[in-house]
Each structure stands twice: as C-alpha cells, then as structure tokens.
Subunit: 241 residues, 2 copies
C-alpha cells in the first residue's frame, strides 16, 4: 500500500472493511495493527484505482490486507462527515513515523495525499473464522480477531463504523444468510439460533425463533442428526437452492 | 451549479437523489430536464464542497435543484463501477452545448472536471407530492414528476439508480414509515395499504396486510372515521410517538 502512486488513485476516497467473524457462538471483528511506532489499529482499508470499480477495489483491498478472498462483501454506508477528516490519529502516526517512512522510501507526495479529507465507503462481510486465514502485509504488525465487545481503539471513525456495520448485518441477516455461507451444509435449528444470538447479542426464545426462521421459507428439513439418542435427535436443515 | 469553482469541490465524487413522490395511489420520481440543447434528463444531482459533510451536501443539492427541504433523505448505495464513468450522454451534452456554455460564461476547467470518472453516492427520499413544490434552477428546463413505470431515459446510470433506490425504499418502508411523514396525522388501514401497494406495485390481501402492520407495533388506533354510515366506518390509526 505504502508505495502507491497517488496519481493512479481516486482522490479523497477510501474503502474500509468491517469483517465480522463467527466462531463458537461468538462474533468477532478482524483488526490489523499497523506496523509503525505507536499503537495504531485500523479496519482493513485502502484506496480505489482509477481503472477499478469500487466493489473490485474492496475485494482487492480485503485480499491484500488479510488474504481473505471469494467472500460475500457488501457496501452498507458512506462515512463522509467533515469532522472525520481531521484524522488526528493518522496525523500523529505520520508524525511519529517520519524516519520510518524514509527507511521504507515512502513517497512524500503520497503521505501528503493521505492527510487530505477522506470520504470512506464502508463494506462489511460475515465469515466463518475457521474458513479464513488472515495474513500480514508489509504495513501490518499483527492482524487479529477481536470480540466485538472488546475492540481496540482504532484510528479515525473506525470504531463507529463497526457500530453501523453491525446494524447493517442485523438488518440483512435474514436475507443474506445463504450468501454469507456461514453454516455447514446441514445444520440444526440450534446452530442457526446460536449464530443469531451472537449477531444480535441477545438470547431468542426457541419456539419463536424456529417459527420466524421457518416463516422465511429459505430452509428445508433434511432429516435427523444421528446422535445415538434417537428420540432427542434434532432435525437437520439446509438452505433451499 | 454551472459556476462552481471545481477547486472547492471533492474530486470525482457526486451525489444523485432519487426523490420518490406519492400521490393518489401512485409512485412517481422527480426528474429535471436540463436546460441545454438536446433532451437530457437527470436525477437531481450535484457535488460536495470540501467543507461540507455528505448528508449536508445532499440536502443542499436537493434544495437548490428542487426547492424541497426538511425531508427525510437517506443514502442507500454508492455507484462506482468503471463503465458508468464513460458518461456518453454527458459528453454529448457538453459537445452539443459548447456555444451555449460560452454564453453562460462557464469555466472551461469546470467542464473538463465534469468529464472525469465520477463515483456517485445515491440518496433517496419519499415525499407527499402535495406537500412539496419543486422549482427550476438556472440549469433546468423543466422539472416533473414521472410515474415510476414511465421514466424518461436519463443520463449516465440514473435509470438504473432508480431501480436500486426502489429496492431500498421497499426494504426500509416498514421501519421508515414515520420518518417519511407521508400520511395525514390520522389515516385508515386502507390508506396505508394503498401506499404500500403503490411502493410494491402489487396488491396486498386486506387481512394479511392489516395483521402485518399491527404486528409492527408502530400504529395505535384512535377511533372511527366519521362517514355518516356508522357501522361501516373504518378505524383511524396514527403512529405511536
């Protein structure tokens, strides 16, 4: 990222990705920590090439920053008020790391370009943590899944973005369940309920939940889960194709 | 708009507004026709000042282009693929109107700026056509409400934007009903159903519709509508505050 030529990029426009991960009944968010002096956490972010559509850019950025590809990534909101553009944390990062940038031979123009006002297009995704292996780029010191209630303080408005992304995830979960490709091919109603409970951060009543899910008409019942105790074996479901 | 100094504007970023209007069971869209040689229809559109948040910009643009203010305007999608940037219609408009621009003393730099790739933030609103009076700006030849099924061919991807905006409107109608401020203070279930039927372009069954609306728990019943025929008088509802 650092060695981009800013002339090939759309000016003042960035993309920030909120990657939700689900694992063992918990909802997490993928947060890289930048490889600079000081503690600078950030959402996986980047810029848009002039020859590139925004969805393409989001996929490229996500893959470059995390190694995650072929997932269902959706834009959900643009962050464009003026105060976000003060970028206090970004500026202090640039200040703290001046010499570091010299070592990396970072283009001065690019650094200046970075300190402009940016309007950011927010994308989000929900992935199965077991299925993706995030990796580090040259500008990341670490990349980790943080529980959504224990996020580190990120630069700019990135923590606030997570709040909006979570709202979008909740609003779209019913209709995007299949797309998120989050559950095994066949799953129990309990497994589905655990996913919803993690996303909504609250318990659902079993009967109500089952009724709501069946009413969506996206599930089909495929048999019982073999557990040995035949009477109590839960039904298995899959998504209708 | 024409005499903007492009240096005060965020580069390559525009705002397009889809203003849905409801009147007499019909859903319409507000479409200005540009004041240039040739037939150039467009969504009410504009640009973002450097010192201005995007929501602020959307409100300003809408008010300047239509006279409509204080309405519930929501961003719903960014249009940013590359092909949209060919702007064929825009270029032919600029070509056709060269001499006209000279008369208007339009800045050449601004015209060149206009022909760059633009990524556009889409906003939509739903208004009561009786409550708003659109007005013409210096660059509009006419501004009219068109039935959603009879829109003129607009520049760039504006017709396609209406398709996405309608999808967003449908998806959000339940939760934004109060915000849209579209019905009289007190209304019948039938009036509400007519609104839904116009937005969804399909009939609903009366009983199902009533149940769905009451289940949302946003309505309260306030009495019967006085019609003379007391037995058949429909109930009146209002939104819970």
């Amino acid at each position: 990222m650092i060695n981009y030529n800013e002339k090939n990029l759309v000016n003042q426009l960035s993309i920030d990705c909120v990657i939700f991960g689900y694992q063992q009944k918990e909802l997490k968010v993928l947060v890289p920590k930048l490889f600079f002096k000081g503690d600078f956490w950030t959402l996986p972010s980047g810029f848009i090439f002039q020859e590139e559509g925004i969805d393409e850019a989001a996929k490229r950025i996500l893959e470059q920053r995390t190694g995650i590809k072929d997932i269902f990534l959706e834009q959900y909101r643009v962050f464009g008020n003026v105060p976000r553009t003060t970028h206090a944390a970004l500026n202090s990062m640039l200040e703290l790391n001046k010499s570091h940038f010299d070592t990396l031979k970072v283009n001065d123009n690019f650094l200046e370009w970075l300190t402009q006002r940016f309007i950011s297009i927010g994308y989000y995704a929900l992935v199965d943590i077991n299925k993706v292996v995030p990796n580090l780029t040259e500008i990341d010191q670490s990349i980790e899944w943080y529980n959504i209630s224990e996020l580190p303080p990120m630069i700019s408005d990135h923590n606030q973005q997570v709040v909006f992304a979570l709202e979008a995830l909740r609003q779209n979960l019913d209709s995007k369940l299949l797309g998120f490709n989050l559950l095994p091919e066949e799953f129990t109603m309990k497994e589905l309920q655990q996913l919803y409970e993690a996303v909504y951060a609250k318990p659902f009543r079993r009967n109500n939940f089952q009724k709501k899910m069946l009413d969506l008409e996206v599930l089909e019942r495929v048999g019982k889960k073999l557990t040995g105790a035949a009477n109590k074996a839960p039904y298995l479901y899959r998504f209708k194709r």
